[in-house]
């Protein structure tokens, strides 16, 4: 098995993950939009309201997953697009790590924000 495992091509995994995250995002994005623009009008949003929602563990987890999947999906999408555009070699590597860094920062900052929104701290 081991050698098969080593011949594993990441192209396929990323492709698959892009689809899996997409499926997850369909639901969550729709929910997110609906909740914050139709149920609660965006203009009426206050920190207090946000804090109430974010303090529910389920909602918090969903939003955090939303953040992570969307980041992966979006950044991976951008990366694919650039590769298809003919990005190669060192530049490709540079872009890759740049994107990874950006994602990590985004997720980290997002997480910090999310935690700040709860009344846990």
């Amino acid at each position: 098995m081991a050698e098969h495992y080593s011949s594993f091509q990441r192209g396929g995994t990323r492709w698959l993950l892009q689809r899996v995250t997409a499926v997850f995002l369909i639901g969550v994005l729709a929910f997110h939009f609906f909740l914050l623009h139709f149920v609660n009008h965006a203009s009426e949003i206050t920190f207090a309201g946000t804090a109430v929602r974010m303090s529910q563990v389920g909602y918090f987890a969903t939003m955090w997953l939303f953040l992570v999947t969307a980041t992966f999906h979006g950044v991976n999408g951008v990366y694919n697009a650039l590769i298809n555009q003919g990005l190669e070699g060192t530049r490709k590597n540079a872009v890759k790590w740049l994107l990874v860094l950006a994602s990590l920062l985004l997720v980290a900052q997002g997480t910090r924000v999310a935690i700040a929104m709860t009344n846990l701290v």
Binding site: M1, H4, Y5, S7, F8, Q9, G11, G12, T13, W15, L16, N84, Q85, G86
Partner: protein
């Protein structure tokens, strides 16, 4: 002929030729005569051609606008379009029109063609903005006053409508396009294949290597190393053929999974739309993507 003995027939020719030259040479030498005749004929031809073009009735002619380019010939180095007026008949194809234009107006008009029946794949061209086989395209179906004919986009133009197919062939070759079974029965036995399995690969075996799909694909245009729809379809044809066996299939999946393989396809469908053999290329590419994912998941 054979009833005559050879020397006889030879003398006969000599005699008749001698006679011919004798009468003529009183006036001019044979060389002069030939040149004069050539000249006269050229004038005649020109007149005929003019007349032919003039007598063509607007109503039953079509105008074809053809891309011209020749790296060597002065005046053709700058690409241009030439117009030809061709008499129309029912059932006329774009290839018929091109042949007519070449044989009647300009014998240097260059394009590949052979079978005239959509099996040799020589004449995929860019006709009125789409990749089609000239021989398979009825002028009447184009519904347009003029027919614009160009060489396939995204391929180097060699001359006029001829493009360099080497790259396309290379891509085809790179997927190991040959049947290679894990094991074969004894000499005088055939392998078995279910009719369902044959049905499954049937469409993929119809490819005539015309290159239309590759030319239409935006991804292939940008990424020269992309295998392209035809080559991937070729891989599909063998990977899905149950006669080859699992081991070979695994290898084939690895080939199409490479960096510039199936993952590059962005399901733009234009390949499927232009394929003159109606091969569902996108479907085959997508199925291979799933096969690849499946074969990778197996080992998790």
């Amino acid at each position: 002929m054979s009833t005559q003995t050879e020397p006889e027939s030879e003398t006969e020719i000599e005699e008749s030729e001698a006679a011919a030259t004798e009468t003529e040479s009183a006036v001019e030498s044979p060389g002069d005569r030939r040149r004069r005749e050539k000249g006269e004929r050229a004038v005649e031809e020109e007149a005929k051609r003019k007349e032919a073009e003039e007598t063509l009735d607007e109503e039953d002619t079509v105008q074809i606008k053809v891309f011209r380019y020749d790296p060597e010939v002065e005046g053709k180095q700058e690409p241009r379009f030439d117009d030809f007026h061709v008499p129309f008949f029912k059932g006329m194809t774009v290839l018929d029109a091109l042949i007519y234009a070449r044989d009647t107006y300009d014998s240097s008009l260059t394009f590949r063609h052979s079978c005239r029946q959509a099996v040799c794949g020589s004449d995929a061209l860019f006709i009125n903005g789409s990749q089609r086989l000239a021989c398979q395209t009825q002028i009447a179906d184009l519904d347009s006053e003029t027919v614009r004919v160009e060489p396939l986009p995204h391929q180097d133009v060699v001359k006029d409508l001829v493009v360099d197919m080497e790259h396309f062939y290379d891509q085809m070759d790179s997927v190991e396009p040959y049947f290679d079974a894990d094991e074969l029965p004894d000499g005088d036995e055939t392998q078995r294949q279910t009719p369902e399995n044959r049905e499954k690969v049937k469409m993929s075996t119809r490819c005539i290597w015309c290159g239309a799909c590759m030319s239409s694909c935006n991804i292939a245009a940008d990424d020269n190393q992309y295998l392209g729809p035809a080559a991937i379809n070729m891989a599909y044809r063998f990977a899905m053929d149950e006669r080859e066996g699992e081991i070979r299939k695994e290898d084939r999946i690895k080939i199409i999974e490479q960096e510039h393989g199936v993952w590059r396809c962005q399901t733009q469908f234009s390949c499927t739309e232009v394929c003159p053999k109606d091969i569902p290329l996108t479907e085959h590419i997508q199925e291979l993507k799933r096969e690849a994912v499946k074969s990778n998941l197996k080992f998790w």
